[in-house]
């Protein structure tokens, strides 16, 4: 029981870490042969970028003139057939890494993605150590029926509900 538990937990963590390492799919605007680019296509790209000036404001909701200019720039780039990645790359080169919604996956910034799974693993380790100290599994010799609870052996569902209610009130009395 105990071993399966830890195995399952560890597996879950590894799965989560692996899943999170894959970069998110950026929203793809509908590729269009005609040069008419809709607002929605511009917004879809702008949504993945942040305003270079007003901090922590996504580019598609920013109302300043500068942001309007950048959205126009995106429109022109889409008309010329640029892909989303190319547009993002252009923005990063010209305006810095902070225009992206999450840090680029290179150099020092890898830490941003490594630390959370490490922290989870560290937490699991602490949990493991704590459980080793505290966990004293009750041997299942007294049958599977819980010996600690004070009610009579279960029969009909009604008896169990009564017992349940009695247990609730017992708990409350113990708590005062």
């Amino acid at each position: 029981m105990k071993r399966t538990f830890w195995l399952a937990l560890g597996l879950l963590v590894v799965l989560a870490a692996v899943a999170s390492a894959f970069p998110a799919q950026a929203a793809q605007p509908t590729p269009t042969a005609t040069p008419v680019i809709t607002d929605n296509q511009v917004n879809a790209v702008a949504h993945t970028l942040y305003c270079p000036v007003c901090e922590n404001t996504p580019l598609d909701v920013c109302g300043t003139q500068a942001c309007a200019q950048w959205r126009e720039l995106i429109r022109q780039q889409l008309q010329q057939g640029w892909t989303v990645e190319q547009i993002q790359q252009y923005f990063v080169e010209n305006y810095g890494a902070r225009v992206l919604a999450a840090p680029p996956r290179k150099g020092f910034w890898w830490l941003a993605y490594i630390v959370p799974p490490l922290a989870i693993l560290a937490g699991l380790y602490i949990l493991y150590r704590a459980m080793k100290q505290w966990y004293h599994p009750r041997k299942a010799t007294a049958g599977e029926s819980p010996a600690k609870t004070p009610e009579t052996p279960p029969a009909a569902a009604s008896a169990e509900d009564d017992a349940y209610l009695r247990r609730v009130e017992e708990e409350l009395r113990k708590r005062g």
């Binding site: 919604a101 999450a102 830490l111 009604s158």
Partner: protein
């Protein structure tokens, strides 16, 4: 004159709080109860003084005293009265005073309770609360003074100072700058007070925790005393966050309610540790376990409150939320350094005294699940804290700024929140001590099956997103478990002969904490449903149409019927569009998105027109960086499924917390009353 009274009262409050610290410390060290009583009275005096100070600011705001720099910066002549009052917390200086006033109010109430049984706690509670208060008062007195005047110096500059600088003349502007239009919304009016009340109220349990560590009285007494404070603090903080979300949704015009902005996250962090704390102390009250956890969690909550306040106000973070940079950063830093170090030192000193013989007999027992619960909350705190601090770290190390935004938080915290939902479903079914897997299976199979049926139903109506289905399964599972708890309890009572409504009410009123907690969980479940709906299924579109034009989004269509333009009496130019909303061809409503342009601050604000039902919101906003006329106006249209479940869930939250907090007889006084009764009976018996 009024400003001088206000400043004087502020100064006196500061001095009294310092005195209280000194007197309490001396009284504790020398065992002098009279000094302790003096300290307590000093604390009582602080509140009326600080109230006088706060009321002075409000009076200055209401009477347009623009020679006071704060008044000029946050009000203007044509602002309505209610906004002038709430401008008290509209700017840095005023909001610090408001923070201090809340702190003083809570400690005033605290001092009025009977301290007979907890005499040894009193000095340390006074010291911790007054040190915090004195710090904030010090900031107001020496750095961000709301009573500072404007002066015109000889070389043409305008400076602000409390007392006249050499050679300067008093300067009174004709009109103030007015409150930022974004802040002139009911949500914005309530959001800061509730948020601050939540932050400040958590200082009380922290103070008791420190007192417990210092005096060595590490039993659950401090938890029992502060239980209602913790609950109230948690409720205020939750409401503050939800009001902020509602305000964002109504006013910011991007159809969302949470952007994982660093300041938002900084306010969420103490809520996370506070929620873990609330759950964890339940165990210590019952079985004196998890003492280490409880100390860590409350210290962490206090630390995150102070740290979050520092981040927002020091200029280290910049965001739509942050106040302008000022000199309070370094002072806050010093305060953080001292308090964090002191808390950690006191905790380490008593670490071994907090040991308990925790025996976890089953990994499915309540104790085990609460421990897991704590760990998951801590996991979210660590990850979110990393997200907030990383941009700062990046700038220090690489010299370049980066943004840590929704993609990071969604992936990092999403699974953890899902795990919390799962735990919320399993925990009510487990028992204290030994809980067998067999018994749990017996109780759990029905909710699991029902959850699968619900998910099957959702698949049937066309929902395909895997994560959304997982989310809905969890929500359904937890909902069925929580409801089954009510059903079982009511059925048991009804078997005793009570009618359904009576059984239901008695069940709740006899077990307020448990069932109040379940109601809160139901509120969370309803909110989670709304969050899943909006996060996975929201759609939007944007188009420019002339009058008569149509925009379609999914099942909905809107037509741009007309435009009204006029000047509002409080100094705004308003452009109000008339938009008809159709669903599947049938007209379902008329909405009025509008653009207000505030002449005093030259800033626009857009108000959406929303058609709300329990199922979804159809949300239309005028895009104000494009021209608005009958020839053409640009609209952004959002479809937000289940969004109103978020606000409804919040109401259920409040109900549940009130139920859980409703006073029952204090168990300890009840126990003591019994022996007294027994003694009286004995006396009567022996007399007769």
């Amino acid at each position: 004159m009024l400003a001088h009274i206000g400043y004087g009262a502020l100064l006196l409050s500061f001095l009294f709080s310092l005195y209280a610290i000194g007197a309490a410390f001396y009284g504790a060290q020398r065992g002098r109860p009279d000094w302790l009583e003096s300290a307590r009275r000093a604390v009582l005096v602080v509140w009326p003084l600080l109230t006088l100070s706060a009321v002075s600011i409000v009076a200055l705001l209401l009477t347009n005293q623009f020679q006071i720099e704060y008044v000029a910066s946050v009000t203007s002549r044509e602002m309505p009265v209610y906004l002038k009052i709430t401008a008290l917390w509209g700017g840095q200086a005023g909001s610090l005073i408001f923070w201090s006033w809340l702190m003083a109010t809570f400690t005033f109430v605290l001092m009025l309770r009977s301290w007979k049984r907890d005499r040894e706690f009193l000095p340390w509670v006074i010291i911790v609360t007054m040190v915090t208060l004195a710090f904030f008062l010090g900031l107001s007195l020496f750095v961000e003074n709301p009573f500072a005047r404007l002066w015109a110096t000889l070389d043409g500059h305008t400076v602000k100072a409390m007392f006249r600088p050499a050679g300067a003349m008093p300067f009174t502007p004709q009109d103030g700058n007015g409150l930022n239009p974004l802040l002139r919304h009911p949500g914005m009016i309530l959001h800061p007070p509730f948020l601050y009340a939540g932050f400040v109220a958590f200082v009380i349990p922290y103070a008791f925790a420190m007192a417990s560590l210092i005096t060595g009285r590490t039993d659950a007494r401090w938890i029992r005393i502060t239980r209602r404070w913790s609950l109230a603090a948690w409720l205020f903080l939750s409401l503050g966050l939800i009001l902020g979300m509602r305000w964002s949704y109504d006013v910011l015009g991007w159809g969302g309610y949470w952007g994982w902005d660093p300041v938002e996250v900084a306010a969420l962090l103490p809520w996370l540790s506070g929620t873990a704390f609330l759950h964890s102390v339940m165990i210590q009250e019952k079985e004196e376990l998890l003492k280490h956890w409880n100390m860590v969690l409350i210290i962490l909550t206090y630390a995150l409150v102070i740290f979050g306040t520092f981040l927002t106000r020091s200029g280290v973070l910049s965001s739509v939320h942050a106040f302008a940079q000022s000199a309070i950063g370094p002072l806050f830093f010093a305060f953080i350094g001292i308090t964090f170090t002191a808390s950690l030192y006191l905790l380490m000193r008593r670490w071994n005294d907090l040991k308990s013989d925790l025996r976890i007999e089953s990994l499915l027992s309540r104790e085990a699940l609460f421990t897991f619960n704590n760990m998951v909350f801590m996991g979210i705190v660590v990850v979110a804290f990393w997200g907030v601090i990383f941009p700062i770290l990046s700038e220090l190390v690489t010299g370049q700024k980066v943004t840590v935004g929704p993609p990071f938080y969604r992936k990092a915290t999403g699974p953890l929140f899902a795990l919390l939902l799962l735990l919320m479903g399993i925990a009510p079914l487990s028992a204290w001590g030994y809980a067998s897997a067999k018994r749990l299976k017996k109780l759990i199979w029905l909710p699991v099956v029902l959850a699968f049926l619900t998910t099957g139903g959702l698949l049937a109506i066309g929902i395909r997103s895997v994560w959304a289905l997982v989310g809905f399964w969890l929500v359904a599972f937890t909902a069925f478990v929580t409801l089954s708890e009510f059903v079982r309890g009511v059925r048991a009572r009804m078997r005793r002969g009570e009618a359904l409504p009576v059984a239901f009410l008695r069940l709740i009123s006899r077990n307020r904490r448990r069932y109040g907690g379940y109601i809160v969980h139901l509120g969370v479940i309803v909110m989670a449903t709304g969050i899943i709906g909006t996060q996975f299924f929201a759609t939007q579109t944007q188009a420019t149409v002339p009058q008569g034009g149509k925009i379609t989004l999914g099942h909905y269509t809107m037509t741009y019927d007309g435009l009204q333009e006029f000047f509002a009496p409080d100094g705004r130019h308003v452009a109000r569009a008339i938009v008809s909303v159709y669903k599947d061809g049938k007209k379902v409503g008329v909405v009025h998105p509008r653009r207000d342009f505030y002449l005093d601050s030259q800033q626009p604000m857009t108000i959406p027109g929303v058609r709300s039902t329990w199922l979804d919101d159809f949300y239309v906003i005028l895009v104000d960086w494009q021209p608005i006329s009958v020839e053409g106006a640009t609209f952004k249209v959002f479809h937000q499924p289940l969004v109103n479940w978020i606000w409804t869930g919040a109401l259920i939250f409040i109900l549940g917390t009130l139920v859980a907090a409703w006073p029952e007889a204090d168990p300890e006084t009840a126990k003591r009353r019994r022996p007294r009764h027994a003694a009286r009976r004995e006396a009567r018996a022996s007399a007769s």
